[in-house]
Symmetry: C2
């Protein structure tokens, strides 16, 4: 399993991915699920991947290989993020054309789910969710984030906090809390994490952090969030439904 | 969809169920999913149901009908909760024997998930989770709660708070917060709610509350929990990963 989240707001974009992959509980590995495609000063594109690892690696590698050929349409020359999302979708379809039938013969579903975000000079930062079928949707002000993989445990905190008024650091903090809730509840999501914060119009990657189990900030967030949540819980009144009925 | 949770701790048992059922988004109804079987002074049994409504109603109705025949094994005469769980499992299997094949002809999976809890005089309160196959597991000190239906959104708060030291009212408060997070994230879980708190050794139902959208306590919890969560969030430090790199 996997948990990745991408958020877009006025300040920029935040991407967070775990790195655990598993084929059964007895085969657990660490793989990077956050891929950066950068032309400093001109464009930054970030791809988060979930689903079948062979498929998502194929997609990421194909996109990387295409960049070596400047005559071919690729992530370093597409004119805008919409074209980039189409290119990622097309790449998923190519992998599907090559692998889907063989996978089916082994009863394996063609399953991949991607978040693509970034900025290309001349347009604002944009964020997309690309599906297994190669189709995609774009984040809007009303729906400023996408999650892929094990998304449910970490959704309530995003629903309550994420908004246009947050700084990038605050969005990153919210994503890390969301990740912590997911790690607590699902063994197949695990450290280390990849965190990337992209500031609107910076057009380069300056804030990219690997977070492992010894990271003091993440350890502090985990401990303090749990403790403070408990304080808030204790401060809320108990239900009084039955106290009136008692003498 | 459905969200139900049952918790067992030293103080007793807490059961909370939503009441929304849907067959597609355009066919939404309200059905009770919390069923009480009581012999005051002798036993209290509570059944929470999730899954296909026709199946879960069949199971609950069959269990109710059996109680009219004192010569038959039923929930008012089984000697202990383990036997009660076996009886519920057997009832699921009877419904399966009658309905599963017909459902399959329409491509409908035989899907039901039940929480059974309560106390029978002579043993402590116990809590079980009964599956579609009629098999079941029992809650322990290490795993003091079961959730059925849409369980993920509301699990982190239970993981962090529920424990043996809580009062019944505190457990109820925690379940209501868990329900609020679920309702916020999944349209198919909805009010009104059924809340039942059972005190160890009381052997009767004295705390059973229907909670609708006008309920001032639940509305207060929803509003205050969100607001206080935001305060805790604001109080946590922002990540400082990049501040050292800046002048």
């Amino acid at each position: 399993m996997t948990y990745c989240v991408g958020v877009r707001n006025r300040a920029g974009l935040v991407f967070l991915a775990d790195s655990r992959t598993n084929a059964g509980l007895d085969q657990i590995s660490t793989f990077r699920k956050l891929h950066v495609f950068e032309v400093p000063g001109e464009r930054v594109l970030v791809l988060l991947t979930a689903g079948n690892l062979a498929i998502s690696q194929s997609v990421a590698s194909s996109l990387r290989v295409m960049m070596h050929n400047p005559d071919e349409k690729n992530l370093s020359n597409v004119p805008n993020l919409f074209s980039a999302a189409k290119l990622v979708g097309d790449t998923v379809r190519k992998v599907h054309a090559r692998d889907a039938e063989s996978l089916q013969a082994f009863g394996i579903e063609f399953n991949v789910n991607l978040i693509l975000g970034g900025q290309i000079k001349g347009e604002p930062p944009r964020l997309f969710n690309v599906y297994s079928a190669g189709n995609f949707i774009e984040a809007t002000e009303e729906t400023p984030f996408f999650q892929i993989g094990e998304s449910k445990y970490g959704k309530p905190i995003l629903d309550r906090i994420v908004g246009d008024e947050l700084t990038l650091d605050e969005v990153a903090k919210c994503c890390l809390i969301s990740m912590d809730s997911t790690i607590k509840s699902n063994l197949s999501v695990g450290l280390p994490l990849d965190l990337l914060c992209y500031e609107t119009n910076s057009l380069r990657v300056s804030k990219h952090q690997r977070i492992d189990q010894w990271d003091p900030y993440f350890a502090g967030i985990r401990e303090r969030w749990g403790r403070h949540l408990r304080t808030v819980f204790d401060e809320l009144p108990d239900p009084g439904y039955w106290s009136a009925q008692q003498p």
